[in-house]
Subunit: 214 residues, 2 copies
């Protein structure tokens, strides 16, 4: 992607990335995005679940939602940010964070009919691979009450910081610990519903393993 | 806080909270917020580090930043969201996420002089308690190039979902595992700078413990 006037990163431009692989990886690691849009009451920043298929980011909402109605008629900015750690430098103003962020500009459109159903199935597949065939599927009424929206990943920019401390040469001898305190998103043990008598399926067992591995 | 026209939650209003204790807890658990504002190019959603003191949320930025300049002259919306887990219901459309979110409306103002320095010290204290006295402190020049901004936590709303699956009565016998797959933010082992010969201070040792405990 070529940067546009809206997506060109000015601050620490060396941390900017405009390639699809970087963008897709950031979106695929997210369960949530924040969407900025403005109406007569001002700017709003709304968190909502998201997923990706191909070169589109998808969200869904109730037909009656103010956000859904507004997004179909106006441009917006969708942002995803992962914070990966604290960077503890030797000098106060060289402290930083490691992060991966993506900003997408454009307009959502509504996905209709089978395409909407397929998108919702893809969302379930992201959340819990293999679960779609096990659950009570959505009814026509449930699908009809839900709007699936997608925005092209065409006008977008990523900004990343990774790696270690960047201190100025004259600060390197300052007698203080320096380094990175990293985080990750870690699974905790699954919590079965009290009334659930079914054995845990593979994606739940995998969640447990993920939990014990961290 | 009483909800205003901008902060009153309409969707699943039973999940809304307007009390300061809930708001403070959500802000204090965050290192990052997303800020929505609009300019002549449209709506923007910018991630930035944040911290709280009293009834204000603080951010900082370079004096020359477009966002800093804009935020001092226009209203915005600041949102913080923590995703706590996936809620796997027996029916497709009762799937959900557990989350804690806060939205704050208003306008930032610039914090000046000693108040700005004190706010930056409070930020460091949040990131790494006790570190401020160890580091090479900010110079007058560094402080002068940085703007500290704060927004009152006066017009705000929180929305939370926690707990288990909420299936409809007629779906309870559907033969599928149901429950919650929870997450947490977990520390990974500290990564000392290659040139660092200093022993790890208490807040770094505490980070390691936090890591092994998960």
């Amino acid at each position: 992607m070529s940067p546009t006037d809206r997506t060109r990163v000015r601050r620490v431009a060396s941390n900017a990335h405009y390639d699809s692989a970087t963008l897709h990886a950031i979106v695929d690691d997210a369960y949530l995005c924040h969407i900025a849009f403005s109406d007569s009451k001002g700017a709003h920043c709304i968190p909502t679940a998201c997923w990706r298929e191909g070169d589109y980011l998808y969200i869904h909402g109730s037909n009656g939602s103010r956000m859904v109605k507004h997004l179909l008629e106006n441009d917006c900015c969708v942002t995803i940010t992962h914070v990966d750690g604290l960077v503890l430098a030797r000098s106060a103003f060289n402290h930083s964070m490691n992060y991966r962020s993506a900003m997408i500009y454009g307009r959502f459109d509504a996905v209709q009919g089978n395409a909407a159903r397929n998108a919702m199935v893809a969302f379930m597949e992201k959340l819990a691979p293999g679960r779609q065939v096990e659950i009570r599927p959505g009814s026509d009424k449930e699908y009809a009450a839900t709007t699936v929206l997608r925005i092209p990943l065409a006008e977008a920019a990523c900004k990343l910081r990774s790696g270690g401390v960047e201190d100025d040469q004259e600060d390197l001898s300052w007698p203080v610990w320096a380094g990175v305190l990293p985080w990750t998103r870690a699974a905790l043990p699954p919590q079965p519903d009290a009334a659930c008598k079914m054995p845990a399926p593979p994606y739940v067992l995998a969640w447990s393993k993920c939990s014990s591995a961290t």
